[in-house]
Amino acid sequence: MLALAVLAFLTPGPVRAEAPPLMKQSDCLACHQPDRKVVGPSFTDIAGRYGTADIPKLVQKVKQGGAGNWGALAMSPHPDLKDADLGAMIGWILTAHAPGANPAKGPDVIAGTKPGQEAPAYRNFPVIGSRVAIWIVAQLHLMFAAFVLAVPMFAFIIELIGYRTKDERYDHLAHEFTKLLSTSFSFTASLGVLLSFLLIFLYPKLMSYMTAIFGWTFLPYVLLFFAETVFLYSYYYGWGKFHPKVHLLLGLGLNITGMGILFIADSWLTFMNSPNGVTESGELVNRWAAVHNFTWMPINVHRIIANIAFGGSIAGAYAAFKFLDAKTDEERAHYDWMGYIGNFIAISGLLPLPFAGYWLGKEIYAYSQNMGMTLMGGAFSWLFIIQAVLIGTLFLAVNYYLWLGMERIEGAERFRKFIKYLLGGVTVCFLVWATPHSLVATVEESRKMGGAHHPALGVLGVMSAKNTAVNILILTTYVSFLLYRRGNKKATVPWAKTGDRIEFLIFASSAIFVIFLGVLGYFVEAKVRIRLSVPQVAAVLFAMISVTVIDIFMFRKAEITGEIRWGKIPRRAQYALFLIAITFTWIMGLMGYVRAGIRQHWHVYGVMRDESINAFTPTLGFAAKVVSVTVLLFFGFLAIIFWLTGLTTSADWKPRKDGQA
């Protein structure tokens, strides 16, 4: 996954809007249009008459203005434009509109893509209104899709582990995960179809525009979908019937097609947020640029990571349910183990998630400061307080599960005394993260504070403090995991003590470094401050990676001091697992809201206005209600899926008594 993220960073940025930025600011477009004559000749006509060799001549022409070449109407002089800029603009006009540039169709502006020409505008959905209907269905579709995309990833990896270690348990576990998949897949597809119908029916104008831009992606999308169906069913029903390598190959195919579907669908919705490859009036000039827009890759990466975490948490919830409902010790042991793996996957996704989110936020800012401000400082700033509560809860629950998990490990009692410090760390970070910048206060209260910010808390309300809190939160959670991992092990290598000290030193120094940078952030200018988050993240990553490496070597031949008694975990731990799943789902819903919400009153940001009665941005309270309804619906459907899956499931798994996970 990391490799993918790195890859995403390395690929060149999207093709930016072709027109030089000056083109948009200048008044050219008032008189000239790409493909038709308005006051002056169209760009296509100009490019037809002149070549790049004429640029110097044309530069002078534009500067001086005049009439006679194209008609009696004079072009006004533009003495205030710089030669270099003019050259660039004219160069663009000539090259991008040259007849040879797109010989088959002449100008590469695709006819009929102008928004809102003859299409009917909006239709209404009874009772709850079009927007809420689309909102709920889209969010449900997304949640199922996330699950359906994530499960094959870890099913494939788990199967691979099983194949490599020849441990049958993993194979069975992968199979069981896949069982959840086949029913969910049908749900996803049905919801997707419902969503498209609703969209086409309720937002015909928007959809005809989107079709004009993205119509060409529909075929590959459908083909990929068919391929995915084939892969999924052959992967599931072919379990044990193919040669393992062939079967693994099927799993790989399933993942690749799934990813392809995700990327295509993302291009549609990211285009709506950060349209690219179209003119200001919405005419398509470059198909690939429309797909490869500013937020496409960040959203892809963010989604993949989040999907894994989400999928893991849902699988964990499934295991928790089965554990609580189990009748025998074997069953409990099995589902305890499954819940553990699900939670492990969820944490692995959760830890890098803030970094991916950070990249996405940065791209949004780069695309439009307006949108960035709306997101971070404006109408949505309070949303991040809700998000902080959710993420804080998530981290608390994850840590709590790990601590309770030590109950099943013989010998882990010796780590109990650390719990309170870890808890203290997580709590303080949670408090910092949940501190709003501008506080809700009565007039008296703000008089006492001497303003809208509290002198002490105001400091905690800003970026530097939040970044620091998140990084420390991640470090703390990692320490919890490390302690869990060491529960029943005793290092036998001679340098064990030194190793411990080095690990401690790494943790302490990276924590101090992160906090130092956080404090430093208040004393440097904003430009530097924003960059400080990079070394912070790097320090945390460095600590996690280097400690993991040391630990692996340190415990390679470790003495096992006690066994892991799978199933011997308090029931409340299962509720923690369930809480993680609910919280994750809720965050998905909330993030879905903010991603669509920051477009505000635009269907396609800056290009196509939302003119429906629902163009306003609803209150957070309303959004919270819709998200809750969505989450409950999702869990309702999940219950059906779990039940269906349960009809065919029998625990055929035998715990291995060697204490190895």
């Binding site: 008089r447 001497g450 400091v459 430093l520 004393f523 011997k568 308090p570």
Partner: protein
């Protein structure tokens, strides 16, 4: 205020390097003080210390002229120069309700540097052989009511009320005629608001002011005229005139439900039941003829309502009532009429119920959100309604009605009566919070039109009458809690008391770590 930045300073201490060491004493220190002065003080006090900086014209009292040698706040005898410590104290504490802020951010060393430089501005300081006589303030005896009562006689005896007024509201007979040494009009202090005392409001501060007088102002020293045993009683009397050390500004005035009779006296009587709310008045420093130092610094408001109307009584302290002539909120720059200006007051409420939290602009509303602006001209004794869309967009919207306005011992009080549900305008229902703001004009100081004192938006709340005693529902809650608590305790005891319950606490709370089997 000192803690405002205490937290950040802690951070700065943690994160930054201390500034280079400052050399002590001599001209170096004065040079450091000069740098500091040029950066932080010269904009008002002037680069040469003559009190004529770029911002000087916008303050009243005007910034101190350091070259003159007249300093108000001293511990030295009348007419003497202040000590260095006196200057340092003013820099440190500022002067409340003037443009001189407190400077807690300066270190002691920096204040010393500044004092050193200030002394170079007046040659009289150069003579270090003269030591001004200082006034020592004895340790104050405990405050006693009896002493304050005795002080009243001393207050009268020493003609304090000629300037400060009979009730201490700064409305004495000669108050309007007072001028400082530079010929600028100056107001006697309003002794009922000791938080505005420039030299501090502790009893020892008041004592010191009596003893030293305020150089450059008509306030003399009473060292010679008031006998030693009369000094503390006088202090105690002045001290007793104020309600407290701080103004206790409110953010809301609660209108009580009452029967409002037809006559003004009756209504005023009914209003006495309402708790007064004090709102700060500030200068209109925003548009048109800005007013940098309004005569009034606070309005006190009471309110009551019945089923038909809301009564709002606005009162404020005014040195001298101006009742001949006229005043109008429309008087603007172009108004060249030389007619004398009268005192006036206005209240404003949004014209329509605010959508969500949005309120009109606080200066007479804006185009999107107009306000109902009720203006009382105390000369004509009439109240007229305006529709406000900003100061320049005020238009008369109703006929004038007679106002009930009274002036007594330095205080105006004006009664506004408004229907609760007028045909046009905001309906005031019980239990709602209505934004309300006030403006005050002092004709004596030439305030008219946008050139007046204003307040920010505050809240008028129509408190529903109490229905029955609150004790019954509270008791019901307590009983419910008791029942719930008892139920829990007895159920738990019953379960724990059963045979085999010893294991219960364990198995019930930590269930399957042991047995693995939920009950």
């Amino acid at each position: 205020m000192t803690y405002r930045f205490g937290y950040l300073y802690a951070l700065i201490l943690a994160g930054t390097i201390a500034s280079p060491a400052r050399s002590e004493g001599g001209s170096d220190a004065c040079a450091a003080g000069k740098r500091l002065y040029m950066e932080k003080c010269s904009q008002c006090h002037g680069e040469s210390g003559d009190g004529k900086g770029v911002g000087a014209d916008f303050f009243n009292p005007r910034p101190r002229d350091f070259t003159s040698g007249a300093f108000k706040l001293r511990t030295t005898e009348s007419g003497e120069l202040p000590t260095g410590g006196d200057l340092a104290k003013v820099i440190r504490n500022g002067m409340p309700y003037t443009g001189m802020p407190a400077w807690p951010r300066f270190s002691d060393g920096e204040v010393a540097d500044l004092v050193c430089f200030l002394k170079t501005l007046n040659p009289d300081f150069a003579d270090t052989s003269v030591h001004p006589k200082t006034v020592t303030v004895p340790k104050p005896p405990a405050y006693r009511e009896e002493s304050a009562r005795k002080g009243r006689a001393i207050y009268e005896e020493n003609k304090c009320l000629d300037c400060h007024g009979s009730l201490g509201r700064g409305d004495g007979e000669s108050a309007p005629t007072l001028k400082d040494d530079w010929g600028n009009p100056i107001r006697p202090a309003d002794l009922t608001r000791r938080w505005t005392f420039r030299g501090g409001h502790r009893r020892e501060d008041i004592y010191r002011t009596f003893m030293t007088g305020l150089n450059g102002t008509p306030m003399p020293s009473f060292m010679a005229s008031v006998k030693e045993e009369d000094r503390w009683p006088l202090v105690d009397y002045v001290y007793s005139l104020s309600k407290g050390d701080d103004p206790g500004y409110a953010s809301m005035v609660t209108a009580v439900s009452a029967k409002l009779p037809k006559d003004a006296d009756g209504i005023r009587e009914a209003l006495a039941r309402s708790k007064p709310a004090l709102f700060p008045v500030i200068g209109q420093v925003i548009e048109g003829r800005r007013n940098f130092f309004p005569a009034a610094n606070a309005v006190e408001v009471r309110a009551a309502y019945d089923s038909e109307s809301v009564a709002i009584l606005v009162s404020w302290h005014d040195m001298s009532p101006q009742t001949s002539g006229s005043n109008s909120p429309l008087a603007s720059k172009g108004d060249s009429s030389r007619a004398p200006l009268t005192d006036a007051v206005a209240l404003q409420i949004p014209f329509k119920a605010p959508e969500g939290n949005a309120k009109p602009y606080f200066l007479a509303g804006d185009k999107k959100n107009p306000v109902e602006f009720r203006f009382a001209d105390l000369g004509k004794g009439e109240i007229r309604d305006f529709l406000g869309k900003g100061w320049s967009g005020l238009t008369a919207s109703g006929a004038a009605v007679k106002a009930d306005a009274r002036y007594d011992s330095g205080e105006w009080s004006v009664l506004f009566l408004r229907p609760r549900r007028p045909a046009k305008g905001l309906a005031m229902d019980r239990g709602v919070f209505v934004p309300i703001a006030f403006s005050v004009w002092d004709g004596f100081s030439g305030e008219s039109g946008e050139h007046g004192g204003v307040t920010s938006w505050y809240t008028l709340y129509l408190k529903p009458p109490e229905e029955g005693s609150p004790i019954l529902p509270a008791a019901a809650r307590a009983l419910a809690a008791l029942a719930a608590g008892a139920a829990i305790v007895f159920a738990a005891r019953f379960r724990l008391g059963r045979p085999g319950a010893a294991a219960l606490s364990k198995s019930h709370l930590s269930v399957d770590t042991e047995s693995g089997d939920p009950r």
